[in-house]
Each structure stands twice: as structure tokens, then as C-alpha cells.
């Protein structure tokens, strides 16, 4: 009973907050409305017994949305985003697509022939989920993760305007890094 109440409250709130992203005319409000939606999703994951996954969703999405708010506001055309503005690029199409996917998923959930529970629930559902998702593919996932991380670092290194040769000279022998901003390690 209580679980039902929590489920419907969080579910309706998640969908409503997700919908409001398309209604708000302020970057900050849209971002934090999306955050609210994702926090509700984290709560739903906890309700399913996936404590770790749920809490990690809350943690990661909070950090992610906060950073996104800053970047969106920083790079939008009006300075600091202090004026009302909406995401005019294909708002209708985006909303229609989201609604379509939502309906598709709901129909799938309602119509799918879910199997009856066989046996008891695992003591640690997060562990069980991880095992069944990537048990035999752990090595692949680790390799993939490493490759992705290397790509991120390489991209940053390649795109940065001032590399280590600018800072420490052509033979990297300079005692002090030549930085436009003074301060930091060893200076």
C-alpha cells in the first residue's frame, strides 16, 4: 500500500517534471526540472530494492545537472542567461518524440507477458543485476571503459590550447611553468 503511494507519487512527479522541461522559458528552471524528474527516477530505483543504483542516480544526476545548468547558461546567446528564453530548436518535435517514446515504453510494460517470480529475491539485487547484465562480459566492459576514458583524456590533451610544451619549453626542462595565471605548485 505504502509502496503503491510512493510509486505513483514519484512516477507522476517524474513525468510531470519531465514535461515541464518543454514548458519553462528559463534554462535554469528547465535544467532543475529535469533534475527533479531524474531524482524521482532514482527514488523509484530505490523502491525496487536497487539501493545502490538509486542513490548513485541521485548523486550522479545532481552533479551532472548542476554542471549542465552552468554550461547551458554560459554558452547561450544572452549573457549569463538572465533573460527568459526557451529551447526554441525543434521544441514541438522534441516533445512529440519524448511523448512517443514514453507511450511506447508504457504500452510495452503493460502488454509484455511478465514471468511470475521463480524462487526468492536475491539478498543484494544490485549485485544480482550487475551479474546478470555483465557477468561474463566484465572484461569487455573494463576494456571498453578504459578505452573511453583514454579517449576523453586524449581529446582534452589534443584540444587544449596550451600544452606542456608551452608551459615547460620545447625540451620540457623549464624550472617554472610559464602560465598566464600565476600561482600553483612550485611557484
Amino acid at each position: 500500500m505504502l509502496d503503491d503511494v510512493i510509486f505513483w507519487t514519484l512516477g507522476v512527479l517524474a513525468v510531470a517534471a519531465g514535461g515541464m522541461v518543454f514548458r519553462f522559458d528559463s534554462m535554469a528552471r528547465a535544467t532543475y526540472s529535469l533534475l527533479l524528474s531524474l531524482l524521482c527516477v532514482g527514488g523509484l530505483a530505490i523502491l525496487l530494492g536497487l539501493d545502490y543504483l538509486g542513490v548513485v542516480i541521485v548523486l550522479m544526476m545532481t552533479i551532472e545537472m548542476a554542471i549542465m545548468a552552468v554550461f547551458m547558461v554560459m554558452f547561450m546567446m544572452n549573457p549569463a542567461g538572465l533573460m527568459p528564453m526557451s529551447m526554441l530548436h525543434n521544441k514541438r518535435g522534441g516533445a512529440a518524440l519524448c511523448a512517443g517514446v514514453f507511450v511506447l515504453l508504457v504500452v510495452g510494460i503493460v502488454l509484455a507477458p511478465w514471468p511470475e517470480r521463480a524462487g526468492r529475491a536475491d539478498g543484494d539485487p544490485t549485485m544480482a543485476l550487475g551479474q546478470s547484465l555483465m557477468g561474463p562480459h566484465m572484461l569487455t566492459m573494463m576494456t571498453l571503459g578504459f578505452a573511453l576514458f583514454t579517449t576523453i583524456v586524449a581529446t582534452v590533451v589534443l584540444s587544449t590550447r596550451r600544452g606542456r610544451y608551452d608551459r615547460l619549453g620545447d625540451d620540457l626542462r623549464a624550472r617554472h611553468a610559464d602560465d598566464p595565471v600565476r600561482g600553483g605548485i612550485g611557484r
Binding site: 552533479i63 548542476a66 552552468v70
Partner: protein, 310 residues
């Protein structure tokens, strides 16, 4: 090991937290008064935060033009709420309000929520200086958050569990601070930083005329600044179950040990604030990325090797 607290404990927890925050703020005021006007003034200024809170309650709210009132209020309210929610996994003695399997991650998530809330509070009033304060916290928070997470991870690694109760139980005999000193120090530093307090006070710094709080007065200001004290108390007291053995100790009951250790950490932080000026962020950032992150990674590696060898 840790049990769930009875219902009265749940009801009592926020009040106890507020009392601890008032005591900490009182100590800070007393130390400030003693350093400026001699030891006699310390006693007189001890209840100063209470007076300040009453004054703020009677003060009128300041309004700014075209403010985003909803987001600003959400931000202000989230700071104390996140602090109280984070304290739910904080064991008093061996009893916490709740002891979920991912308690450490929960604590970190609530800290992140407070972090996002400061930006909202800075954004709300439609004022450049308060927005600068909010932006500062977000940008600097990235440098604080990584070593902070690694320090939390190291404690969890040592106990092989994310449950706070297990972390406390794993320290029977030997506290984590003994063989994870680097993680403990980094945790204390980043605890100060996550509560943007003392040497890390840039988001509400004087150079930005008060930063994120500049446009707030009355109850808003009380909630925001009081919430910051709550955050400081919660992050400081979480170092006790993480690294200082929680309620473990001879003779005294567990709750008394928790209280003593928490008080010791708070006194250290509040006293230490006098010795350290507000840090230059450009210098500290580089120090974080170049020294603290590798240091905490090495500490985590050390803890992992010890655990594997056990």
C-alpha cells in the same frame, strides 16, 4: 552492527543537529570575540548566534527585480534539508536513523544536492554578485568533490562495505585514521570545502560582497547561513564513523564517545580556521588536481592492497 534508532530518535535528530550547529557557531563567535577583545568577551559572545538568528527572524525579506523566487527559495531550503537528510545515515553511538546498504553514497549524494542548491540560491535573486558566488561554488566543487569521493571510497574499501554500520564495525581495534591518514586529512579539508566555510568561503566571500547570500535577508538568510552550519556539523561528524571508530572507546557509552569525537573534530576545524586565511583558489585548485587527487588514489591503492592481503 548499527541498529536503526527508535522513532523518538528520528524526531529528535534534526533538533540535535540544530543544537550542535548553534553550539559550533557559538564556539566560533566566542573564539572570534576572544581573539579581538580578550578572553572576557568570549563568554559574552557565546550566545551571539542565537541573538543573530532572532534578529534575522525579525528582519524583512529583501526583494530584487525580476527575481526567480521559486528557484531561489528551493535553493535556500535545500541546504538545511540536504544536511538533515545526510545526517540520517550518521550513527549516534551505534544507532543511526537508517543504515542503508549504500549509506556512504547516500551521504555523498546529499552533499551534492547542497552543492547544486547553492547555485540555485545564487541564481535566484537575479543579481550579478550572488550569481558569481553560486558559480564559484559549482566550479570549485568539482575540484573538491573528486578527492572527497576518493576519501569516502577509501573508508568504504577498508570495510569492504558501503554501509556506515559496517565501516564502524570494521574499525574495532584499529581506527581507519591510523592506516588511512591521508584520506582522513583530505576528508577534513574537503568537508570544510563542501560546507564552503573558513578558508574555502569564496562562494560567500567578501570580495563578492557576500556572494551567494548577498541579496538575502531575514528568514532566507537565516536558512542559508544556518544550513551552512548544519552542513559543516554533519560533514565534520561524519568523519567520526568513517575514520575515528564511531562510538568505539573504553569506559564511556558509545553515544558519549561519538559526541566527544565529533566535538573534537569541530573544535579542530573551528580553531584551525584562525590559522588559515581564505585560500587563493587558483593556487588551491592546482594543488587539488596535482597533489590531493593522486594522493587519495595512492591511499585507496594502499587500502585495497591491505584488504586483499587480509
Amino acid at each position: 552492527m548499527a541498529d536503526t534508532a527508535p522513532l523518538w530518535g528520528v524526531v529528535l535528530m534534526p533538533f540535535a543537529l540544530v543544537a550542535a550547529a548553534v553550539a559550533a557557531a557559538g564556539l566560533d563567535a566566542a573564539v572570534t570575540a576572544a581573539s579581538r577583545r580578550g578572553p572576557a568577551a568570549a563568554l559574552r559572545d557565546l550566545p551571539a548566534p542565537l541573538g543573530e538568528a532572532l534578529r534575522l527572524l525579525g528582519q524583512q525579506r529583501r526583494r530584487t527585480d525580476v527575481a526567480d523566487i521559486v528557484l531561489g527559495r528551493v535553493g535556500i531550503g535545500l541546504v538545511p534539508v540536504a544536511a538533515v537528510l545526510a545526517a540520517a545515515v550518521l550513527p549516534w553511538g551505534f544507532r543511526a536513523v537508517t543504515d542503508p546498504v549504500a549509506g556512504i553514497v547516500w551521504f555523498n549524494a546529499m552533499e551534492a544536492l547542497a552543492w547544486a542548491a547553492i547555485w540555485l540560491a545564487g541564481w535566484g535573486p537575479n543579481s550579478a554578485l550572488s550569481l558569481i558566488g553560486g558559480y564559484r561554488f559549482l566550479a570549485q566543487g568539482l575540484a573538491y568533490e573528486l578527492p572527497h569521493m576518493f576519501a569516502l571510497t577509501t573508508a568504504a574499501l577498508g570495510a569492504e562495505s558501503l554501509r556506515v554500520g559496517d565501516v564502524v564495525a570494521a574499525q574495532q581495534g584499529l581506527w581507519f585514521v591510523v592506516w588511512m591518514p591521508a584520506a582522513f586529512l583530505v576528508y577534513l579539508l574537503s568537508a570544510l570545502a563542501m560546507a564552503f566555510w573558513g578558508p574555502f568561503g569564496h562562494p560567500v566571500g567578501r570580495d563578492a560582497a557576500g556572494g551567494a547570500v548577498v541579496e538575502y535577508s531575514g528568514a532566507d538568510r537565516l536558512l542559508l547561513l544556518g544550513g551552512r552550519w548544519l552542513l559543516l556539523v554533519v560533514t565534520a561528524s561524519f568523519s567520526v564513523p568513517l575514520f575515528l571508530g564511531g562510538g568505539q572507546g573504553p569506559l564511556l557509552p558509545p553515544w558519549a564517545w561519538t559526541l566527544l569525537k565529533t566535538a573534537a573534530v569541530l573544535v579542530l576545524l573551528i580553531g584551525g580556521r584562525r590559522l588559515v586565511p581564505v585560500l587563493r583558489m587558483d593556487r588551491y585548485m592546482e594543488f587539488v588536481w596535482m597533489v590531493l587527487v593522486p594522493l587519495t588514489l595512492l591511499q585507496a591503492l594502499f587500502a585495497a592492497v591491505v584488504v586483499l592481503d587480509r
